[in-house]
């Protein structure tokens, strides 16, 4: 009793499974088995289509998060496109989790933006602004300016303004002023632009 050293010999950890076995584990009835398999498939290109096929169907948020952690590690067009379809999901947990994953994929997300900005569903465009808020690429600002300038839905414009503001400078003042003129009846948008302008005046 008391402090003891790890017992020797230690109970051996099971040997690592190969990719095929891990992919089969993605369909295990035990969510913890699925979660572990999804994580252990990190960096395995053969697993990407399997994970993409399951991420929208997975019912356990913990398993879905693990799948998204592994998928986001592949910053490729196929993964970004496969995930972006879920921005339109009716399930809030899925669409927000996917937006978070996409926000960590600066190489592949810009290629999807022309389509996402043209999505007929304004909720998809709101989610796109959420992605751009955290996407670590210099391009994000110009995409957000485009949304603020061109989008016809006030909730998309306010989401894009929120995403732009942390990185906004004096050069964005006219962009914000123009948005305020376009939506004179949106109280939140009016408030937000009025509150932001004084802080931007002296920035570069």
């Amino acid at each position: 009793m008391g402090l003891v050293r790890k017992q020797q010999p230690e109970p051996e950890t099971a040997p690592p499974l190969d990719t095929g076995e891990l992919i089969r584990k993605l369909d295990d009835p035990d969510p913890e088995q699925r979660r572990e398999a999804a994580l252990e498939l990190a960096g395995e290109p053969d697993a990407v289509p399997e994970l993409l096929a399951r991420v929208g169907l997975e019912t356990q948020p913990r398993v879905r998060d693990a799948m998204l952690t592994t998928l986001a590690g592949h910053d490729t067009e196929a993964v970004a496109a496969g995930l972006a379809v879920h921005l339109a999901s009716d399930e809030a947990g899925l669409r927000t989790a996917v937006a978070e994953a996409l926000a960590t994929m600066p190489l592949s997300v810009p290629g999807l933006l022309p389509d996402l900005l043209a999505a007929p569903d304004h909720d998809v465009r709101v989610m796109t602004a959420m992605v751009l808020a955290d996407l670590p690429t210099p391009e994000a600002r110009s995409w957000l300016v485009r949304m603020i300038t061109d989008d016809t839905h006030p909730n998309v414009v306010t989401a894009a303004i929120d995403a732009l503001l942390p990185a906004a400078t004096a050069e964005h003042v006219p962009v914000l002023e123009a948005a305020a003129r376009r939506f004179p009846d949106d109280p939140f948008l009016q408030f937000t632009v009025r509150a932001a302008l004084p802080g931007l005046a002296g920035t570069q």
Partner: protein
């Protein structure tokens, strides 16, 4: 310069707000205007040591996820010092609440199968795992009735070598009661004291990267994990993966302590936050869900 953006002039109000919002989002650490002078000075230091000459250009680069810049910034803005019994209130929480709960969940003293397992990750030069050992030996009333395994893990083999040697100077030991030093340490010259063999040999040290899922598979069924002041350094995906790996290392119902200014709410929702008298601790849920 207009807008007070050059190093030396302090940040403008708007820059300060943008900066603290960003830092909060990135690390979960919030600086109010009361810390204005401190933040201004430390940010200026970072700008000066960077290739950028204005706040705006430095901040723009930082926001593009430059890991080195963020690390330097966090080092400047946080106390990154390791010593015995640091953030001791968390060890209080472990002794008062977490270990009794763990013991009860595993059937109590008489029926528990296998040891109580505690992991310190990153363990750095060993102050944390040895602090845990000292407090258990001195203050846990069940220590003579239960087996306890303490593990320390770090990615850096240099600090692990120091942890294995376990000799410390006065500064590191400042908070250890004199009686404990006399009882568990041996003077080794130059004002340094070495942790006794009995404790050193009871603490198992490992080299591991917490973001490496395959390597972290070796860590299983821990009752308690201390993972303090490290996740703030990781980018979004790495901190998520680290959290997932720590989840896998805990037994269901096991407890995770983060540093006192850290929160899992910026990293991952997989743990259940639990309020203890000493603060918030994170639990791996017990249910199948």
């Amino acid at each position: 310069m207009a807008g007070a953006t050059s190093a030396g002039a302090g940040l403008s109000d708007a820059d300060f707000d943008r900066f603290t919002e960003y830092f909060y989002k990135r690390t979960g650490i919030h600086f109010t205007h009361a810390k204005r002078y401190f933040v201004d000075k430390r940010v200026e230091t970072c700008i000066r040591s960077s290739p950028y000459d204005t706040f705006a250009s430095w901040f723009a680069a930082l926001r593009m996820d430059k890991p080195d810049m963020l690390q330097e910034l966090i080092n400047e803005l946080t106390v990154n010092e390791t010593y015995f019994l640091r953030e001791d209130y968390q060890f209080d929480a472990m002794l008062n609440t977490v270990l009794p709960k763990a013991l009860a969940a595993r059937g109590g003293v008489n029926r528990i199968a296998g040891p109580i397992k505690i992991l310190s990750l990153p363990c750095s030069t060993g102050e944390e795992p040895y602090s845990i050992a000292l407090r258990l030996l001195e203050e846990w009333d069940q220590i003579d009735h239960v087996d306890v395994e303490i593990h320390g893990a770090d990615i850096d083999s240099d600090v692990l070598a120091k942890a294995a040697h376990a000799s410390y100077g006065a500064r590191s030991l400042a908070r250890v009661p004199k009686a404990w030093v006399n009882k568990y340490f041996t003077p080794v010259g130059s004002g340094r004291y070495q942790v006794d063999e009995g404790i050193r040999s009871a603490v198992t040290l490992h080299k591991v990267n917490v973001c490496d899922t395959a390597a972290m598979r070796a860590f299983r069924d821990f009752d308690v994990i201390f993972c303090r002041n490290v996740l703030i350094y990781f980018d979004e995906l790495s901190s998520r993966r680290a959290a997932e790996n720590l989840y896998g290392a805990l037994r269901p119902g096991g407890h995770l302590f983060l540093g006192h200014s850290e929160s899992m709410s910026r990293i991952s929702p997989i743990f259940t936050p639990t309020r203890l008298p000493e603060g918030i601790v994170y639990q791996r849920p017990t249910g199948a869900k």
